[in-house]
Symmetry: D2
Subunit: 426 residues, 4 copies
């Protein structure tokens, strides 16, 4: 049900997965696809630094990682001009289609891969069919290759449709590190969007199911704390040290003990910690990479505020210094029921879609929420649509894969919803 | 070997034990004894506020406790004039004997009881002999009744001796709470003391042993921390509380973890803690009564400084306030070998003294160190003398008692040493 | 709107508040009222040990407290025979009215007071009207005096009505310590109940409001931990101690850090802690009085299990022993919509009831849930009904009071609902 | 004052520093030197597995590291037969010289380098003189190159002297990780040693100073703890995790809080910690590399016992597993005064030695103590001799270096002492 050329596009993207802010090949490949398919039919095509607010990128990797990925992309032979415009980690694209008077509808799809190896099991479809990742240690293990393909496919459907209005497709980088959503939400391109659809494939729903409104996004924030003390010989002069590991351990214990909040669920995790250099040296440095979440942005901020105080007091307690850096963040968001209804109507018309679920809870985080809230705050409506796909392994695992017919379900459901939006302007 | 009248004095004091700063009866009884025995032979007799520096009393109990003890003393029929001069907890006395040209020698004895009940076992000597404590919940469980008696006895020996010089006997209040030593050390009476002897009975040495120099006093400081947070319903709104018990628990854990110090032994103890009011209320208050010690005053101060920082950071961590109050303190001190030698010589002459030990480590704290350091800083010498006594129960226990002949050992050893000091001026 | 004689009953109960398991006067007074009003009309009247399962009383106070309250009750001149049957803290009553063929409907009202002083502000209605608590340190600060009165009032309404079936009114002791619900739920009297109504007045709803189904009861469990270590002199031999305060502090920190649970809200509070005896003694004992809660009984049990493991490991870590005792517990429960609808219908007929709310979240705990679950597990239906009352002070505060007309609202609403239940058998 | 050929030997060893159990080149080079210098004059020469008790090696690195170092040694062209006997990390040597009837004297020198880079400052003598380390990331930063040279030099002195008895020189591997001392102490070669000398250069004493007895070795033990829990999505299902980082942090806090011990100084350090894999995953693993010390072996064992209990309870508290492995250990030891006196006498005869200190406290740890205790327990005497050297940088720093004339001081002092031992048999 998915056109062969789109399947081919998805497999090419799958073969070259690029993690956050390194989607050099990916962006150039998408741009090439858009230009060759639509040419002048597109009113605008914003690429790289033109597609995002460059001051609002979050969680950008260091130069060495960017350069490595950039050089690797160059070797693929993609358009040099496009590639060079992306240098330094300014990836992503926004395609704009104008078809007469009508509302502006946005579709957000994300395009980044994950820093994990792909299975080489011969039964793993990408192995069997020859499109397994060629980038060592990287994989499209969350279906963003399919999302990018859906973005192209929806444009194609709308070009050929009776839709009247403007369609903007946001090919967003760096979702996996909740790093790209904010930079797209703060770009000028979102400002006139009246209706926004975002989408995700899988999420433990099988091929043939559509969830018209995914909800339960927890707002999230990353925190990194670097504790600095003073080393000393642990046998000779322990009192001369200022022990960064004691500070860190005190912080960890008290982070998890931040009071539960009666306004809704919260989360805290000190996910990566380390400290010290040798058994016989009082540790002079230690670090925590943590994340906090909340059902609402307010609850997330409650956790951030408490976590910062705990960390700073723990440092002070052990006479250490600490740098706390807030990393990537994403707010919570809620899908609007009016849009969900239209999605349901559209899905009902799609061959192969057999089950339509009204609501489902994600229970995780997503930075599409930045765009959703931006649109909602401007008076628009937003909805996050789940498209089922049979996936053999779980999200983020080595054997994750997309059942390709479901890409078509996504394209048709979303295109149908977009047409209805233009008709009904809910 | 101890004169009957002195045994009688000791037993009267034993019958009316008075804890720190409440030695109303005790002081008045001692003054009465001094006046009736020595009358005008004493050059000076300073009582209560005249005996101490009133601005340097530490760990004074509250008015209710002072008043209760004062009224109880009044009922014993002691001299009203003396008693009234002590009102408000200004206890203790300094007796001065002048006998011609010569050095000024000080003898410090402490006089307070302990806030603990005495055994009523019929085999307990004070029970059998009818001088068990008549003050409920108080007891001379550390032999200070014997110390006061020794002070009187030494005066008597010296009055009748060839000693030439000045003898000052310091009857010090409030040793048990390390509260009185500083106020005596800061009084004018210590200023001209050239040689100081302090003494303690027992210390796990049997009758017949004398320790010429007790050492190893740890400097000590008490700390009290009162944490204040905010209550909240633990089920309904835990996030609205500011949890003083969490702050206290964090402090306790980190207090014990203050780094060991290579300069010498240190100690820390959170001896009494409490907090909270009900199972279902986030605790709004909590407290810690702690003490820190160090082999030297510097080490004690190292512990105080770290403890304060830990406590304040723990409060801040849980968004609580905290009041930290430093309580009573005593420095460390070391006995001078020159005096110890004279004590050994004197002890060798005392019938019944069979073993003379040069040095022993106390491993605890004592506020005689305030007076010892004061004298040493003025260029004088000081020595802390242990006098063995068979004590059935340990110090501070309900069955502690003094073997009365050892009181005589103490009197004769100290009087002998004082005579030798005047002779030899080491 | 509330009959004068019922107002008088409520005030008499208010004047003699009796906390958990000490409702001696209260039970005897209710029994007297029932007998004088209904005499032989009652098919059964079970009192004290006959009303409850004596093996399932929770949180019973010690003998001294029971005796004190018992003697105080005796002085009021209530029926000696009834009183004696209650001796030892076997309080409460179950009144059974049989009126022909029909369902068995239960009504549960609680009758205990709280251990807190009542305001003596002249503006406080019980002061102004002369029915302030005569029991020092005790108060009906949660309206259970009104609940007991409602129980009597409903019986009276039903006696005079067309109701066909059996009505059982459970006058339950010890709700405030979640101590009595289980013993009533485990008694034989609940076994044949087809429909159960429970009720509470106030809950921040004003006079004239009725909440047809209060929900959101958190399951709750109390825990008490007694840590035992070994004392030692903190200066002399700290290594000989086994520090119960360190164990307690470690437990406290880790109790609050029990992982949040994605299945729903949980709570933990170490509400009362204490430990140690003196600044210079390594603490040999310490204790925690804690409570845990969960949205469901499973979540509460998740917290209990984790809390027990934390406490036991903390003791072991510091080489201490610990006794963990689970105190009173209550499960969660949910009101059945079918009954709530009937309550709404009944409330709509009551003059003075102006607002009917469908559902409200309590966000606390209640041991009526024991009875509700018992009935539901037997295939019956249960509903917890809120009756608004203007209360000047909050629940459990010194100025709480009941606006007496609302007692009538409660009686009529519940009686109306009971009649409808018999008619409609939902 | 140091012979040129010995300076040359020291520089060759310096050029090829090999850390613990990887002294392949070093051992072969020493063996070569011994054979070429002494040939058949040596009664025995035990190499590698023949020199040590192979079952008592501690802190052996993994195979990859051993193989890498072995292959590197092979490339230097040292004797293949010797080299192969060392394969697998069985390094070190014992040379035995027999010269008639007399006592057996042992001399222990250590030979391993450190895993740290050497300064490339042109002013750093090894750079200026062209013998800087050729092994990247390794350096003789503690003077063991000089120690090995002293061992050879002392043999040469004794060969040419009037000494009567047996001299055994122990070229010990793996001192820096306290890994080799035990395996030499448990070998048969130590059994008949009557007198043992061990030596260290530097220790903040300048050239021209000798310390006849270094003391104050703290007994030490390494501990490694590996915590294993269960990962879970920190946002989605935190309750499904078993958090190894929480266990580790609880352990760290309580390790530092192990009670101080009145029997003497103790130490604890959690020197290296780490845990977790990603911000959004409940950490399934964590580790602590710690060390404990004590003034005596008993105090060290007190710390080990407490540390193990803390770690195991912390794991249990968070439902994790933990493997605790005791790493390398060394006991405390005390130099015998009788030997120290002879060393002083010998040093007084050495030109260039200007200051002789009787005792100095090391305040660290050393595994020579294994050999010292073994000899002492067999009824022999042992002494640890410090030989001053001007060292520009501190021990273990990048600019550490030995002032070469002091090598001669060491040789002559030790050889002189060995001769006197044979003469005087103290």
């Amino acid at each position: 049900m998915t056109a062969d050329d789109l399947v081919e596009l998805r497999r090419e993207l799958h073969r070259r997965p690029e993690p956050a802010w390194r989607e050099f090949y990916t962006t150039a490949r998408i741009v090439d696809e858009l230009e060759s398919r639509f040419g002048d039919e597109l009113a605008e095509l914003h690429v790289g630094p033109e597609a995002i607010d460059v001051d609002n990128r979050l969680a950008v990797p260091d130069d060495a990682e960017l350069t490595h990925a950039f050089e690797r992309a160059r070797e693929t032979g993609v358009d040099e001009d496009v590639l060079e415009s992306l240098e330094g980690g300014y990836t992503g694209a926004v395609a704009v289609l104008e078809k007469g008077e009508g509302p502006t509808v946005g579709l957000r799809v994300d395009i980044d891969g994950l820093p994990r190896a792909e299975s080489d099991d011969p039964d793993h479809e990408p192995v069997a069919e020859g499109f397994r990742s060629e980038h060592e240690g990287a994989m499209h293990a969350c279906g963003h290759d399919a999302h990018a393909t859906i973005g192209v496919g929806v444009l194609e459907e709308i070009v050929d449709s009776d839709f009247e209005g403007t369609l903007k497709v946001f090919f967003q980088p760096a979702e996996e590190v909740i790093g790209g959503g904010k930079s797209m939400a703060k770009s000028e391109h979102i400002e006139d969007v009246d209706y926004l659809l975002a989408t995700h494939i899988g999420l433990d729903h099988p091929t043939g199911e559509v969830v018209t409104a995914v909800d339960g996004f927890l707002a999230v924030s990353h925190l990194e704390a670097e504790f600095t003390g003073e080393p000393a010989h642990a046998g000779g002069h322990p009192e001369q040290g200022r022990n960064a590991v004691q500070a860190m351990a005190t912080a960890v214990q008290n982070l998890y003990a931040i009071p539960r909040n009666s306004d809704g669920p919260t989360r805290i995790n000190a996910g990566i910690v380390e400290g010290g250099s040798a058994a016989n040296v009082i540790p002079e440095s230690a670090s925590i990479v943590a994340e906090v979440r909340g059902e609402t942005t307010e609850l997330m901020e409650y956790m951030v505020e408490n976590a910062e105080r705990v960390i700073e007091s723990a440092a002070e307690m052990h006479d250490c210094e600490v740098e706390v850096e807030l990393g990537a963040q994403a707010p919570s968001a809620t899908s609007d029921g009016e849009l969900a209804t239209l999605v349901a109507d559209a899905a009902a018309e799609v061959p192969g879609v057999e089950t339509i679920l009204e609501r489902d809870e994600l229970g995780g985080s997503e930075d599409a929420t930045f765009l959703m809230r931006e649109v909602q705050q401007n008076g628009g409506l937003a909805c996050y649509v789940g498209v089922g796909t049979d996936h053999p392994g779980g999200h983020h695992t080595a054997t994750f894969d997309v059942d390709e017919p479901s890409i078509g379900h996504g394209i048709e459901t979303l295109a149908g919803a977009i047409e209805q939006i233009a008709d009904e302007r809910p």
